[in-house]
Amino acid sequence: MGVTIIPEIIRESLNNLVKNGERSDDRSFDDYRDIYLETGVISKAEGSARVKIGKTQIMVGAKPQIGEPFSDTPNVGVLMTNSELIPMASPDFEPGPPDERSVELARVTDRCMREAGVVDLEKLCIIEGKKVWMIFLDLHIIDYDGNLMDAAVLGSMAALMDAKIPEAKVEDDEVVIDPEKKVSLPIKEKALMCTFAKIGGELIVDPSLEEEQVMDARISIGMRADGSICAMQKGGMQPLNKDEILKAVERTGEITKKLMEHLPQNNQ
């Protein structure tokens, strides 16, 4: 992971803008950049999505595999999230094993989807204790212009809603897959994530790369359609106070409601 040095003059000007209630791209504090979402973009993947928030771009693929369940949850399918910050996406990303930023991204996304109960994993059980569907979500970051978290969760949600997996039947204790018959994943809940950056003493939604580079702190809040909090992660080198956190939670309610409109309508 390389270190980008930010000129003081840019730091100061971005801070001053926010203090005056403005942002460098004329957005209000609660505005996202333009969001573009397309599903079914990879035909070899059972579910896929391409998501853009501003110039940040992520490809998400969902692929199923039949595997063994974890021994402590024998009748529950598995959802696994991986992310790769590939060198193509930014001069700061380097080849090699996932660094801590990409691990954090994958794990926060994973927690958000899992804790919200997005996929009804019990329905992914084929033979209890032996065979379950494992859904692998792979996040491929191809253009990094800030706010990967929200894009990752939005893309993952869309890819899961898009996914059609073959029907699996049990005949004589053997799993038989019918590739002709495709069924949608059992989607139970919808959840999205909303990230704030603290700049100039204010919390602004959907930080751009420039804003991320000068931010003091970051807070990402995952929320379900019913308004309950399913994940949260603070980041950045400076602290947040309690009021800031509670205000962010409050604002997230309205913002995620709007964000939900970008998801494809129920595919069931």
Binding site: E100, V103, S228, C230, G235, G236, Q238, P239, L240, K242
Partner: protein, 242 residues
Amino acid sequence: MITIITNKILGKNSTSSKRADGRASDELRPFKIEAGVLERADGSAYLELGGNKVIVAVYGPRELHIRRLMQPDRAVLRCRYNMAPFSVDDRKRPGPDRRSVEISKITSEALMPAVFLEKFPRSTIDVFIEVLEAEGGTRCAGITAASVALADAGVPMRDLVVACAAGKSEGEVVLDLSEVEDKDGEADVPVAIMPRTGEVTLLQSDGNLTPEEFGKALNLAIEGCMKLSEAQKEAIIKRYGD
């Protein structure tokens, strides 16, 4: 040096508790903190909280050999959170996994605001957190111990960061989840603060909470932090006098 306490004296304060170990909803597990337990490290600390046993070593500020990590205007603070293979029921494969990489990252972010990094440009402060035994809430235990180890190393700091989790178990918002409560519980909210200002330096939430429950959990965790903060100070006073 290290003496190991056992965890069998819980629940003396309440008889009507619904928690598995009989604690009140705002009661911490028994804990102790000791500063300066290692010979070679510049600073060290040992912490027990319930069944958790965590040891932390601090090296530095010292020369940073990896040029690309070097910061021209301040020190970098690197953390390595690691679980011993014998620290959990099923042997953990040695070496970093995704969980420990993430915890290392957020731990260093939790400690950074308190340290005067700008006093040591181009150098590094290394914090090594070893979990010897895990019983729920190790990341918070690691942060609480790391602050004491940093102070023991003489690293100049604004405050002693302290961490504690709250969460929801069996429908109730409770402080300091134990291993069982964490596994079977509905939500876990680890929080680290700088107690002098109350500012939050680490915050995660895992599980489902309504905004009201979250607010309650946050308050409870901060209360727990304040109690642990006293023990941190005592540990340093015990080692160095007033």
